[in-house]
């Protein structure tokens, strides 16, 4: 898209830029403590799990297995949201921290006579990025590819237009409806088939939106029970990508006094097309720290919570940035309006190319998101919500 490689905006916070080898590496960029290694290994597993909105079973099982010893109480609600609760001291404020575990992807809607699969998008996906992409179907990751006409056969006029999803098919190598039907059934979900890997100081993977938030939430749960002077209600929510549907009921059930939503937001920090111009619509910048929200399409984030987060970040020396006010939204839009209202703020890890096969995320931003929210919870007191 950009004509020249992106300038990483001031990577001041990065220790020496890691040397990039020609081959993608499996191991996390050094230096990493064993716990950081474990956290990134979890992120890898989360990223590579196929769990599209409405079919979160595979990622839910992974999360349940990971957190089973990290909370006093773990439960799954009617819609499939996972709650993990750490009770605080008596009369402690109830603070909900939520991250959605679903991802955008596809749903198989039919099998043609020739064994090709009709499919639809689930959540916001751009038709222009679909052609020719490998996919994984279902929990067992049946491999397939979104078929396309090879360039040899494409007429000039066709190159000018976008092929709509309706006329695309997924090819799993089947030769008949029956043989395809043995592999895949209508209603199965699919995602881009992207193995998680490291590129220099960044991680690349599918579904970093919002498995990064899920992994951050697990990191928060790893904090000692006594570390937080709040009743901590962690919620891994479902169906965010189709309209914040899980968070609405999760917020109602949790009855929190305040909520922090962990998500992933786009870093559109490439240079402006005209080099004379300043890019003033970057949303966030990679490597500049976790992004604190002020206004998005569904929420005016609580001023007191924004102040608490920025004050903690500044006192602890944790880098942060403000996500540019604008459209889009997070589970905060649903949670803040449950019952008699909930003061809510969002914190996102910036990532380039989200809702595509390969999002890029700074490892430092990811680590700092967990540091920031943990510190905010550890230092919670009566003053946070005072008007």
């Amino acid at each position: 898209m950009a004509r020249k490689p992106a300038k990483p905006a001031k990577p001041a916070k990065l220790k020496k830029p890691a040397k990039q080898s020609a081959k993608p590496r499996k191991a996390a960029p050094a230096p990493a403590t064993p716990q950081e290694e474990a956290s990134l290994e979890l992120l890898r597993k989360l990223s590579e799990t196929v769990a599209v909105s409405g079919d979160e079973g595979p990622v839910r099982r992974l999360i349940l297995e990971t957190i089973k010893d990290l909370a006093d109480e773990v439960k799954v609600d009617t819609l499939g949201n996972v709650f993990a609760i750490k009770p605080g001291p008596a009369r402690a404020p109830r603070v909900m921290v939520a991250a959605h575990m679903d991802e955008v992807g596809f749903m198989i809607v039919g099998v043609d006579g020739d064994g090709l699969l009709k499919f639809e998008a689930v959540g916001g996906l751009d038709d222009r990025i679909l052609l020719g992409k490998p996919v994984w179907i279902g929990e067992s990751k049946v491999p397939g590819v979104i078929g396309m006409k090879p360039i040899h056969l494409v007429k000039n006029a066709e190159r000018e237009s976008v092929v709509k999803i309706d006329s695309l098919r997924i090819d799993v190598g089947a030769t008949s409806r029956d043989s395809a039907g043995r592999l895949v059934r209508p209603g199965d979900r699919a995602t881009f088939a992207t193995p998680f890997t490291y590129l220099g100081p960044t991680a690349r993977g599918k579904a970093l939106d919002n498995r990064a938030g899920c992994a951050t939430l697990v990191e928060i749960l790893r904090g000692a029970r006594s570390a937080y002077p709040v009743e901590l209600i962690c919620a891994f929510t479902v169906q965010e990508e189709v309209g914040l549907r899980g968070a609405r009921v999760a917020g109602f059930a949790a009855k929190p006094d305040a909520a922090i939503v962990l998500d992933t937001t786009q870093a559109n920090d490439l240079p402006a097309p005209d080099e004379e111009d300043e890019n003033f619509k970057y949303n966030t910048r990679l490597g500049q720290g976790p992004a604190i929200y002020t206004q998005d399409g569904s929420t005016l984030h609580d001023r007191r919570l924004i102040k608490h987060l920025t004050a903690i970040a500044e006192s602890k020396g944790i880098p942060y940035q403000f996500r540019q006010p604008g459209g889009g939204g997070t589970d905060a839009g649903a949670i803040q309006r449950t019952r008699a209202g909930v003061p809510t703020v969002s914190v996102s890890t910036p990532a380039r190319y989200i809702h595509s096969p390969g999002a890029l995320m700074s490892i430092d931003d990811y680590r700092n998101a967990a540091r920031l929210v943990r510190a905010a919870l550890e230092n919670w007191d009566g003053k946070v919500l005072r008007r």
Partner: protein, 329 residues
Amino acid sequence: MKPLIKKLVESYGPSGHEDQIRDLIRGEIKGLADYVTVDPLGNLIAVIKKKSKSGRKVMLAAHMDEIGVMVTHVDSKGFARFVPIGGVYATTCLGGRVRFADGTLGVIGIEDRKINSPSLDQMFIDVGATGVGDCPVRVGDAAGFYRPFEEVGSRLVAKSMDDRIGCAVLVEVMRALKRTPHEVQFAFTVQEEVGTRGAGPSAFGLEPDLALAVDVTLTGDTPKANKMAVSLGAGAAIKVRDSGMLADPRIVALLEQRAAEARLPAQREVLEGGSTDARSIQIARAGVPAGCVSIPCRHIHTPSEMVDLRDVEGAVSLILQTLEKPIEL
């Protein structure tokens, strides 16, 4: 009532940033209610307790917030780019002035003055800075439009008549209310302009038996206006429907009856575009019968919103008439 209106409309309070206007209203209603609280989203709630067994719980809602802008980026020369908070029209911005919470004033400029249909993307706020270093505002700071209150005959002109005039009506009702059998719940709400977000939660907390929103409505009495049977100066408007809600017909009938009994001029309102807090209140919990007393207003969502003082006073009288008598739906 004019000194109160002037104070309210000249105060700062874009959606999500209602602290200053809330403090101002809190001062104005001191001693007028049995109790006053601020709910989790920041709605200011003042309740006059029930005096009679047959009384109902009546919620009155007016929103404190106003439209505004929020800074998205400060460029290397100190100009601030921005996005709207609520329904801000680019056509009314150019050359306009905005004011931030700390009083910082800014002027809205545009990249190219000859653009025919400008968009907010092409505009910026000039706060007199020369670079990032001396720019007093940063990403996430919010500003309201800035314009003094003026009188033009019986009309009043100001920014944020929408909906400080509704707040003024509520305050005036609290001051004038002598006796009522009902529990009256005054809700000065937040975040209406971004999608009536404050009112629903406030109604969840208050659990009213019925509710009235008090807000401005458009008129059909200006050159080439959309056809609409509401005029400035013809009395308070009783809403039948807008694009977000259908008023409970029993409430429409009740308000019309009380207006007729008191010989108050009133007009029916059918609004094709826009809505009010009543939309969210109506669907709170298991549902709330809801309606609206509207103040006709010209030039809505510009820095020069115009109302007629007689309509404002008429709205106060109509609400008082309704509260002082029994309510049977």
